[in-house]
Symmetry: C2
Subunit: 530 residues, 2 copies
Amino acid sequence: MSPVQLYDTTLRDGTQREGISLSVVDKLHIAQKLDELGIHFIEGGWPGSNPKDVEFFEKAKQLKLANSVLVAFGSTRRPQSKADKDANLIALAGAGVKVATIVGKSSERQVSQVLETTLDENLSMIADSIGYLKGRGLTVFFDAEHFFDGFKANAGYAQRVLEIAASTGADCLVLCDTNGGTLPSEITAAVRAAREVADVPLGIHAHNDSELAVANTLAAVGAGVSQVQGTINGYGERCGNANLCSIIPALKLKMGVDCVSDEQLAKLTEVAHYVSEVANLIPDSFLPYVGFSAFGHKAGLHVSGLAKWVNSYQHIDPSQIGNKARVLVSELSGKKNILYKAKELGLDLPPQGKEAQRLLEQVKLLESQGFQYDNAEASFELLLHRAKPDYKPPFELVDFMVVVEKRRRPPARKSLEEMLSEAVVKVRVGGEVMHTAAEGNGPVNALDQALRRALLQFYPSLAQVKLVDYKVRILEESVGTGSSVRVLIESSDGVNEWRTVGSSTNIIEASWLALVDSLEYWLLKQKNNR
Amino acid sequence: MSPVQLYDTTLRDGTQREGISLSVVDKLHIAQKLDELGIHFIEGGWPGSNPKDVEFFEKAKQLKLANSVLVAFGSTRRPQSKADKDANLIALAGAGVKVATIVGKSSERQVSQVLETTLDENLSMIADSIGYLKGRGLTVFFDAEHFFDGFKANAGYAQRVLEIAASTGADCLVLCDTNGGTLPSEITAAVRAAREVADVPLGIHAHNDSELAVANTLAAVGAGVSQVQGTINGYGERCGNANLCSIIPALKLKMGVDCVSDEQLAKLTEVAHYVSEVANLIPDSFLPYVGFSAFGHKAGLHVSGLAKWVNSYQHIDPSQIGNKARVLVSELSGKKNILYKAKELGLDLPPQGKEAQRLLEQVKLLESQGFQYDNAEASFELLLHRAKPDYKPPFELVDFMVVVEKRRRPPARKSLEEMLSEAVVKVRVGGEVMHTAAEGNGPVNALDQALRRALLQFYPSLAQVKLVDYKVRILEESVGTGSSVRVLIESSDGVNEWRTVGSSTNIIEASWLALVDSLEYWLLKQKNNR
C-alpha cells in the first residue's frame, strides 16, 4: 500500500482531554520527542484562540526538528466578514509555520443550527479562508468537521464542501469523525465517495467515542487516505482521539504501510511514556502495544505456553515497539509463575521443593491484606530474598513518630507556610542504632528525609535514589477514611526504575512500608552488583 | 440483521486482568447484575482449575436469574488420556450447569509446539471431550483457541478442527483471536471461511491487543456470527477482552441488531460502574459510552455548540445507555463554560458582569497550584459560592494537629496494632469554638473523626455522609516525596455522590482541604433544600 503521513495533534486536540494541561515548555519537549519518533506533521496549537499557543510557535522557532514539520491550527473566517480582517486567520499566517490546518463545517445541520449561517456562506467562508492562506504561501490542510455525520444526512452538501476546498487549493482534505460515532464500514463508503469528487490527497481524523477510532483510521487507509491524524496514547476530548501508538505499529507491522523506520518504531513505548509523564498523567497500563501490561502474562497456562514458544500468547515481538514481556505473580498464578519469576531474577529455587508453594501461600495471604505484587515486582523480589534463612536486611526499623500541625494565626487564611511536618526515626544498621529527626513538606517526605539522614551515613550512594511516582488506592470503599489503603511507589536511580507496595489502614504506615522496600531493594541490588 | 446472543466472561477471562481479584461473593453479585442487563450467557469460571470456582457454581444454584444462563468453562481432555477419566471434564459435568464451554487448539503450531502432541490426537481430544459432555446432556460451546492465527498459517487444519467439533455435536463454534493481533478485514474473511465448513452457529471471542477488539467483534457479526463473547469494561489479560459495554450499544443503536431491550440498555452505565466497584478498580473515565468523561465537553467552542443543539458534539443521546453529558471547567474553558456551569447549578451570574471573568482567573491560579476542577465539581461549586460577598460557611477551621506513631516492642514484628494515629481539631461553628480529639485508623481518618465529633453536635444528619473513594496524585514527578500532591475525594450520602479536591505538598493538608469541601458542600446542599 502507498505510504502514509502521520499527523500528530496531541498538542492541540489532545489537550482537550479531561484532566490534562500542558505548559509551553511541556509542549516544546513533546514536539522534540515526536520528531524522534518520525512524525511527519506536529500540530502545535491554535494561535488565534490562545496566547499560550502564540508563545509556543514563537519559541518553537528554536526547535531543531529532523523529521517533523510544525503546523498551526485555526478555523475558517467568521460568517459575514473578510478573511484578511479575521484575527484568527491573521494569527495563523503570522505563526511562522509553513503549514496551516483550518477546520470548516461539512454538515448541513451544523452550518444552519450551530454556525447559524447559510449553506452558501459556509462555502464562501471555506473558499476565502483557504484562498487567504494559500495567498500567503502556506500549505493548507482542510479539516472537514463532522464530515461523516454530514455525509450520512446530506451527502451532496458534504461532497460540495470538499469540492470547494479542493478547487481553492487545499493540499489535503481531512475527513473528520468529530463525534466518533461512525462504524468502519461507513468510513470506507464515505472515503470512497470523497475520492470521487476531489482529486487531492485525503486524510482521516477519528475520535474514539465508539471504541472504533483505530479501526476507523485503518479502514480509511484501506480506502485510500494518505494522511492519518491522531494523538499519543489516544489523548483527546471525551473518549479521546485515534491513538497513534496503536495505529503506527498496525500500519507498519500488519498492513505493510510505510510510515516510520524500524528504529523509530522501536521508540514507540518510550515516546508514549514520555508524553504521559510530561502531561503528568499516569500511563495507562492496559494500552495496546505500549502499556505496561500489554505483554504481561498472568494465567498459569499462558506462562507455561510462553516457556515453550515465546510468542505463543502475544501478537508481536514486543521489542519491535520497545516494550517487553512480563510474567505476573498473583493468587491466580500457579507455582510455575513463581519458579519462572525466581529464575528471571536469578534466584535459585528448587523446582520440586516446598519453597515455591510456601511463597505462593504467602503471596495469597499478603494479597488478602491488601498487598498486590503484579505491579510491584521489587517488593515481590524482596519477598523471595526475605524467605531465605540467611537473609540479612541492610537496615531495620526500630520505631518512628510523625507530627503534622496546622496553626492558624491572625489574620486567618490558608497558607502552606503554616503547616509543620516532622518525623523522628530510629533504625538499626549493622550493630548501630541511629536516631534522627527531620522536617518535610509533608509527613511521608519528613519520614523519607529522616530515614535517609540515618542511612546516608552508611550508604552515601543512596542519594541518587528518587521517588518518581506515588499512588494511593483505597481498598474497601464502604468504610470511608477508615479503609485500608495500598500505596504503590515507583523509584528511580536515573538508570533503572522499580516499583514497591505497602498496605495498611494507615496511609503513613503503608507509605513507610513501600518506602522501606524501595530503599532496601536498591541497596540489595548494589550489594549484589559489587 | 439476525439477533445476537451475548456471552459474558468477566468472571473467568476478565479476572486475568492485571490487578483484579474477585471473591466468590463478588462473582455472585456480578452475575446477578449481568442478569439485569439481559446478558444471555454468564461464564462463571473454570471448576476444573480452581476450588474457588467450584464453590461459585455450588452457591450460584441459589441465584434467581431471569435472563441469563450460567456456563462453566474448561478445556479439552489431556493428550493420551480418556475423557471420562479427565478431572477437568468431570468437574465441568458436575458443576450443575446446563451449558459448558470447552477450549481446544485450532492452530497447528500451537498443537505441536505448546500442547506437544500430534495434529490427529488434538482432533481426537476435541471430539472425545465434546462427545463426553454432550453424552451428559449438556449444551456445548467450543472455543477454537488461536483460530485466526491458525487459519492464517494453515487454513486447512483450522477448518478441520471446526468440522470435527461440529460433527461431534458442538452447539456453537466460537472463533478466538486469542492473541488479539488480527485485523477486521482478516476477521471477515476467516469467519466466511468458517461458515463454509460448518453449519452450526458461530461465535467470536476477541482480545484488544491491537485496540481492535470491538471492531473485530462487529466485523464478525457483519460476517454472520450469532454469539458475541466479551467482558464488562473490557477487563481481561494483557490489554483486555472485547468490551461488551461498547459492543452492546453499537449492535443495538448503530447496527439494528437485537440483543437487549431499551430498558436493559439504559442500565449499561450502572452495570459498568457496579462491576468496577465490586472488582475494586477505579472506573476508567475515558471508556466509550459508560465513562464519566464520555460525554464531557471541555472546548469552549463545543460547549457553545451544544447550547444550540444538544447532540452537536456527541454521537448518541447518553441517556439511552444511562450516562449523561457534562460541561467541564478548566483553564481551556471560555467564560461561557463558567456561565453554563453556574446556570446548571442554579446560581445567578450576570452574563455581562466581571464575576465570570474573575472566577476564570481564580480557576487558572488554583490550577497552577495543583487544584483541578474538571473532576471535582463540588469544589468548583463551592468556589462559586465563596465568591459571593454574603457567603457564610457552615464551619471554619481554627487549627489542627495530627500525630502518627509506630513503636516496636519486643519481639520486634510488624503489626497494625502498634500504630497510633491521633488528631486534635479546633473549629468554629456560628459563634462557638469546638475543640475535639479523636484516634483513627490513619491520620486522615483521625482528622475526619475529630472534625465530625465537632460538627455532629450541630449537624447530626452529617452522619450519613461517607467517603467512597480517595485518590492521591503526585504532581511533580522529579522531586520525590517532597512533591505536591492532589487529593480527590468522592463522597456519598447514599443517594447522591460528589467529588472534591485538595492540593498541597503535604498529603494531610491536601486531604484535609478535600475533606472540608466534601462536608461543607453537603451541608450547603441540605441548607438550600430546606
